[in-house]
Symmetry: C2
Subunit: 218 residues, 2 copies
Amino acid sequence: MARHDEIRAEMMRRINAGEWPVNRDIPSEVELGVEFGVARGTIQRALSSLVAQGLIERRRRAGSRVVPRTAHASRLSIPLIREEIEDRGFAYGYRLLDRAVVGGPVPHLRLCCLHIADGQPFQLERRVISLTALPQAEAQPFDMSGPNEWLVREVPASRVTTRISAEAADPDSAAMLALPPGAPLLVVARQTFLADAPLTRVRLLHPAESYAVTTESF
Amino acid sequence: MARHDEIRAEMMRRINAGEWPVNRDIPSEVELGVEFGVARGTIQRALSSLVAQGLIERRRRAGSRVVPRTAHASRLSIPLIREEIEDRGFAYGYRLLDRAVVGGPVPHLRLCCLHIADGQPFQLERRVISLTALPQAEAQPFDMSGPNEWLVREVPASRVTTRISAEAADPDSAAMLALPPGAPLLVVARQTFLADAPLTRVRLLHPAESYAVTTESF
């Protein structure tokens, strides 16, 4: 092991053990050079990798300090369901179960679609598309592929809110997902806006045993 | 309404209606100035706010174009449970249900804690802390406040993986959450690492009707 790697490991141990407490200055590079009996460049090299890992923060004209573990934020990305199913090595299937144009003061297109993995129901998509905001949706049959693919391709970037929750399957959804009523579902609900105008909202229902949302943060 | 706002609204309508299709150049600023009968600066002002919203992309030495709605990514942040409960206006309560030091080749501290909102079980925390990585955890009783608060305060930043899923409550967890067995739970599972060393892993179990994870993206 190179000397700077040894020093880095010892620094990690000190951070870990609380010998270098969070939010407090660690010894200066000069002091550490003396302690470890190495040139300042070797200390800097060891510190740099801890800085890169986000464990140590360097401050100009001040010391370096140990960074607290803040409320971690991760990037959450929900891929296209077709890609998600194919990435798992399953054959993707699609069925349009219901399509209705609903008039009234807020005309919208109501869709219910099933996304299938190797013949098994994987996701039930219950969607509403605003025909005020997206009148061109009415001409789309959505019988061969899902509205999400069309939306991603045709509708420009905007604001999206996401809510991930669990619920017991109602009898109707349970039947479409080939589950017993009351079976636990993971539900991803999204609303999409162009500026402040609502474009579409969707509830994506998944059998609990076959789906999870995962993220990673540094 | 200012003229540039009117022009911006008309541009939004065109984007929305597909008259300015995704991934295609829109007319030049000069052409738009002629069409709307305004100075180029007014066109630029209208375009700038669409650029700021991420709907239009300006390219050097090329035209501007409508940005496709890509697979949206959002920031997912899971706050401290105490703050989450208090932010909802509930009184926070805490109970340590189980604490055990487990020896063997991978010594760890096993904890089971209940987080309470206005007297109702809100979150069951099932946690394991590595005593190889964090030997100082063994001295913590965790009888008055949860291990997450201690970890956030004492343990430096690192990598976190998160998995959000749904499941039916096993009889043991159901009893602690005052739910019938099989009730749907929203489960947030997290693993925390310092560099590659696992520090702690936790399963946070929530009654489905009282909890959701929400995010917003632009």
